[in-house]
Amino acid sequence: MAEQQEGYQIDLGNLTAFDPQHQFQSIPDKREDLVKECITHATKLIQAVADSLFSLPSTEDASGPIVPLPQPTTKLPREKPLPKPAPPTKWEVFAKKKGIQNRKKDKLVFDEQTSSWKRRYGYDRVNDDNDVPIIEAKMTDEPGVDPFATRRSEKKQRVEKQEKNRLYNLKEAAKVGALPSHVQLAATALPITGTQAAPRKVSKDELQNVAGMAGTSTASGGKFDKKLAGEKPPKHDKKYRKFLPVVEGSGMGSLEKQQTDKILNKLMAKNSHEIFNVSKAVDMYNVKSDKKRRNQQGKSSAMSSKLKVKKSPYKNASKGSSKKGGSSSKGKSGSSSKGKSK
């Protein structure tokens, strides 16, 4: 915290020493020398911190001397906003006005009827409303009115009133922004954070980027979005398509003709061996038959299928080579058989 003669800035609360005046006249070439120099200088700094640290009044403890640290001088930002003090609840306002002190209540209360200690609330409690077997009729009672029912309805009313008060208190707290930490209003489905901190100012380019992203993610690709006055059209609003020139000059080499030729070739199969890949068809057929066999075997014997599966690729290799000649017919029969089985 104090500045020494050497000019170090010491923050005892953070155990930090900062030397703002040190200059590297010449950086040593070797990294090891540089590191050594840094460490020797750091030792001096740390010694200065330790001097002031050990001079603080210490209390002896089993593990070692304990020293009260001062507050750190370098201020660092908080991670969460300051909690706001909650407004007093309805009851608290009333209690303050009347001067009612909050007294701690015992868990067990002596019950006169059973002459035993019973809980104040919960199972087997004192003065349980449901336990009274007989309610004596008073002069003011009307005939035909069920006293038990009236008791139940009164309790219900009390509970409803309490719930109303609780909601009122929470609403008041939410207005100020001081909701208790474990309560979350589900109308706002936001995570439990403090105040809505002001978002940082974004630049024009960033805003344009984000607007473009938002536009393209819509169903119409952002084409029919209403634009504000002064907003520039999106950067690439046209389709990615290249159109050939309308008039074919001899110099261009008739690009359109080439394009159509290419498509025709693909369709009409001028080179038949390019269209039908024999080896691939054979592989596909082999794989299909393998799977079929495996499924059938699996249904019959689960244990032995493992061994049998391993054997089959070798069998099929020989079969596949023989099949190559009459592949097209085989393929047809295979497909037809499959059709029949289905």
Partner: protein, 323 residues
């Protein structure tokens, strides 16, 4: 009707209260993760930082492709993770051709990005490559010393920012009482140039000296690397103001008219207002001054005095008779 959600179990309630904002903050947790591509160097850097902060750090092992801290849309994932893990510091590592061995150290305020510093790691030497006596190895969670050397930390904006962030990252909890036997580590940061900072971690050895203050000896143990500052983002002014606020209850109020003297101790001054003795009015009127009395006296005069004498005589006679 507003629907109110409350936790159904005490455990959930306690967990929520742990994450609630507090008047005095306990300690920041760190989230360590990496992006699409990492290099060997970066992997070891991240694991070593995690080991240094084992108590209060969370390390994600999967790669995160959609996190780009410096872009406008690329921060949402980070903010979400920060919310879920309740971490307000994060270290994000990535490697690309343009920015090799890149580390982005950032802080969040209220789970939104507060500030960022991007550094490149060069000349990294891991903890394993240092050989030292295992007895002096620093323990996890001990409060470290910091040594910042170099005028760059005061003059250059980016280095100032980096200094603050490094302090925040490694300092641990703010404690009121410190056990002097548990001091065993030092972080040394040297500003070699206006862009480069040499960062190294040393263990402390306290040697006996003549005085109470032991002699410090630094032994390099930990990771050492060169940090090259690339980009940084300072926090918004209004956000910074809000984040630096201290609760008004915590600010110590100065006691007026109290001063401390070295010799005597605590001295207080009491200011006594001037007592106007002459002009003070008595709460009662003295007997003789009362007007009725004066008038009555003037009117009845001697009768009164006779009556009094008679009364006295009668009383004496009664006493004699009774006695």
């Amino acid at each position: 009707m507003l629907h109110i959600k409350t936790p159904k179990s005490m455990r959930a309630k306690r967990a929520l209260e742990k994450r609630a904002p507090k008047l005095v903050e306990y300690g920041k947790k760190t989230l360590i993760l990496h992006g699409t591509k990492t290099s060997n160097v970066l992997n070891s850097v991240l694991t070593e930082i995690y080991h240094l902060k084992k108590d209060n750090a969370v390390k994600y092992s999967r790669r995160n492709d959609n996190i780009r801290p410096f872009e406008s849309g690329g921060e949402t994932s980070l903010e979400f993770y920060s919310l879920k893990t309740d971490c307000s510091l994060f270290v994000f590592g990535s490697h690309s051709k343009k920015r090799p061995d890149n580390l982005v150290i950032g802080r969040t305020y209220d789970h939104h990005i507060y500030d960022l510093v991007e550094v490149g790691v060069e000349n990294f030497k891991s903890m394993a490559s240092y050989s030292y006596d295992k007895k002096i190895a620093p323990l996890i969670g001990s409060k470290p010393f910091f040594a910042f050397i170099g005028e760059g930390f005061e003059n250059v904006e980016e280095l100032k920012h980096l200094k603050e962030v490094l302090l925040d990252l490694f300092r641990g909890q703010v404690v009121k009482n410190l056990n002097l036997a548990g001091l065993d580590r030092v972080f040394v940061c040297t500003a070699v140039s206006s862009k480069k900072v040499l960062f190294t971690h040393c263990a402390l050895r306290l040697k006996k000296s003549g005085t109470i203050v032991p002699r410090m000896e630094l032994v390099e143990v930990g990771p050492s690397m060169d940090l090259v500052v690339r980009r940084h983002r300072v926090p918004d002014e209004s956000l910074k103001k809000e984040a630096m606020k201290i609760a008004p209850e915590l600010i110590k109020k100065k006691e007026k008219n109290v001063s401390k003297d070295a010799i005597v101790g605590k001295i207080g001054k009491i200011y006594v207002p001037d007592q106007e003795v002459g002009n003070a009015s008595l709460p009662y009127k003295p007997k003789g001054v009362k007007r009725e009395r004066r008038e009555a006296k003037a009117a009845k005069g001697e009768d009164n005095s006779n009556k009094h004498a008679e009364k006295k005589l009668r009383k004496q006679q009664d006493d004699d008779v009774s006695a």
